[in-house]
C-alpha cells in the first residue's frame, strides 16, 4: 500500500536537502532542516528515522532517509570506481536493506549513517563476489552481533560517530583524501601512494597525523 504523496512532506524534504547540501549532515545532532528558509524547522535525525521505520513502518521516514542517503551512497560508490548503474542498484538495495533490517539498528553501537555505510559496503562485497559464493557479509553480521556490550562506555556509538565526523572536518584536504582512500576504499598504503602519485612516506605520515587527530577526539571514550 502506497500512501498518497503529501505535498507538505515533499516541501520538507526539499528544504532538508538544501540544508544538508549547505551545512553537511550530522546524524546524531539534529540539524534544523529548512531553518534557512525561515518558516519550517524539522529536526532531521537519521537515527530517529530508522527507529520510526522499525516501530511503525513509517514510509515518510523512509523517503527522507532514501533522499538523503541513497544519492550519497551512489556518489561514494562511484568515487570508488563503480559504474553508475551498479552504484544506483547498490544504493537502492542499501536503502531497501535499511527498511528490512530497521529493527536490528542499534544507535548504541553506531549512528544511522555509519550503519548505512556498512550495509552499502556489504552489498558492494556481495556484488563483487557473487559468483564466488562469498560469505563475507555473513562474517560482518556475526562480528556486529558479537560486538561486546560496553557498560563502561561513556557515550553511544552515535555520539562517537558525531565526534569522528567533527574530527574529519578538521583534517586538511590532503589528509582527508588519504584517509578516504585508505580507510574507506581500503587501499594499501602503497596503492594510495601510487594513486595519488606521492611517496609512500608521505602517505604514512599524513595517515599518522590524521589518525592522531581522530584519536584525540575519541580519547576520553576509551
Amino acid at each position: 500500500m502506497v500512501s498518497a504523496p503529501d505535498p507538505k512532506a515533499d516541501l520538507l524534504r526539499n528544504a532538508g536537502m538544501f540544508a544538508t547540501l549547505e551545512t553537511g549532515f550530522q546524524t546524531s545532532t539534529p540539524v534544523l532542516a529548512g531553518a534557512r528558509k525561515g518558516s519550517i524547522a524539522v529536526p532531521m535525525d537519521a537515527d530517529a528515522l530508522v527507529q520510526a521505520i522499525a516501530s511503525s513502518a513509517d514510509r515518510q521516514a523512509f523517503a527522507r532517509l532514501f533522499d538523503h542517503f541513497a544519492p550519497r551512497v551512489k556518489g561514494l560508490l562511484m568515487r570508488g570506481g563503480a559504474p553508475a548503474d551498479l552504484a544506483e542498484e547498490i544504493a537502492q538495495e542499501a536503502l531497501m536493506t535499511v527498511w528490512r533490517k530497521a529493527a536490528l539498528f542499534d544507535p548504541a553501537k553506531a549512528s544511522a549513517g555509519t550503519w548505512i555505510a556498512t550495509i552499502a559496503r556489504n552489498l558492494r562485497i556481495d556484488h563483487a563476489r557473487r559468483e564466488k559464493r562469498s560469505r563475507m557479509s555473513k562474517v560482518f553480521e556475526i562480528l556486529d552481533e558479537e560486538s561486546p556490550e560496553q557498560p563502561d562506555q561513556v557515550v553511544s556509538g552515535s555520539e562517537r560517530d558525531a565526534r569522528v565526523r567533527a574530527a574529519l572536518t578538521g583534517l586538511s584536504k590532503d589528509q582527508y583524501r588519504v584517509v578516504e582512500l585508505a580507510f574507506l576504499e581500503g587501499f594499501s598504503h602503497q596503492d594510495v601512494a601510487t594513486r595519488l602519485s606521492i611517496p609512500l612516506g608521505t602517505v604514512k605520515s599524513r595517515l599518522r597525523l590524521a589518525m592522531a587527530h581522530l584519536r584525540r577526539h575519541l580519547e576520553d571514550l576509551r
Binding site: V2, T27, R72, M78, E88, I142, L143, R160, A182
Partner: protein, 217 residues
C-alpha cells in the same frame, strides 16, 4: 626488524592498514577471515574496527551526492514485490569452542601431520589465500620457514613465542616476505591457531617437509 611489526609489536593487534582493508571488504576473503577471528577474540581491535567504520560513515555523510534515477517509492515497491523478507538470523552458531566467524565456512577434518601437530583445512571459496587451522602439542617447535607472500595468524587457544614476542589467544601475528621465524609452542598449554597464507612458503626440517605439500592445498 620487520616494518610490519613496528606499529603493533607491543600489543599484537592487527595494524590500521590491515583493519582498514578488512573494513572496506578489499582484503582477500581468506586473509579477511583470519582478521575476523582476531577481531572477534580481541575487543581492542573490535573497537578500532568500529572507529574505522565510523570514519566510513563520516566520509559518506560529507561526500558528494549523485542524483538517483529511482525514488524511495520505487524502492518500497520493490520491497513489496519481493515479499517481506525479514532480516534473517544468522545460521547455526558453528562448532563449540571455535570463533563464530568460522560458522559460515566448511571445515575439514583434523589430520595429523607428524608427531604433536595436526591441521584442519578451512574452505574459503574464491579466496586466493590458503586457510587452515594448526594445533600443536605443548613444547613443540613449529617448523622454521620463510615466505614470499603473507602469513597471517590468529591464536585461538594456548600460545607460541618467536623472536617478535609471545602470541596468545586473540593475538594477531602479521608476517610478510622475507620474514623468517621459528615459533616455539607454549610448554603447558600447546597452541591452536588459524592461518592464512599467500605466495610460497619454504619450510625447513622434517616437519616442514611433511607440511610442505599440505599448505599448497
Amino acid at each position: 626488524m620487520n616494518a610490519r611489526h613496528l606499529a603493533s609489536d607491543e600489543t599484537h593487534l592487527a595494524s590500521d592498514e590491515t583493519l582498514a582493508g578488512f573494513a572496506s571488504g578489499r582484503l582477500d576473503e581468506g586473509m579477511a577471515l583470519v582478521v575476523a577471528a582476531h577481531i572477534e577474540l580481541n575487543p581492542a581491535s573490535g573497537r578500532s574496527l568500529r572507529d574505522i567504520e565510523a570514519i566510513g560513515g563520516g566520509v559518506l555523510a560529507q561526500g558528494e551526492a549523485v542524483a538517483m534515477l529511482s525514488s524511495a517509492e520505487d524502492a518500497l515497491a520493490r520491497i513489496e514485490a519481493s515479499g517481506d523478507a525479514v532480516a534473517s538470523a544468522s545460521e547455526g552458531s558453528g562448532e563449540a569452542g571455535l570463533p563464530r566467524v568460522l560458522a559460515p565456512y566448511e571445515l575439514g577434518k583434523w589430520r595429523p601431520i607428524g608427531r604433536g601437530v595436526a591441521m584442519r583445512r578451512v574452505h574459503v571459496p574464491g579466496a586466493e589465500a590458503r586457510v587452515f587451522m594448526l594445533r600443536a602439542a605443548p613444547g613443540m617447535w613449529l617448523p622454521e620457514h620463510q615466505h614470499t607472500g603473507y602469513e597471517w595468524t590468529t591464536i585461538l587457544a594456548g600460545a607460541y613465542e618467536h623472536q617478535y614476542g609471545r602470541f596468545a589467544r586473540g593475538d594477531f601475528d602479521e608476517a610478510n616476505e622475507d620474514h623468517e621465524h621459528h615459533p616455539h609452542v607454549d610448554p603447558v598449554e600447546g597452541c591452536t591457531c588459524i592461518v592464512a597464507l599467500t605466495g610460497e612458503v619454504r619450510f625447513k626440517g622434517w616437519l616442514g617437509r611433511l607440511l610442505q605439500p599440505l599448505v599448497r592445498l
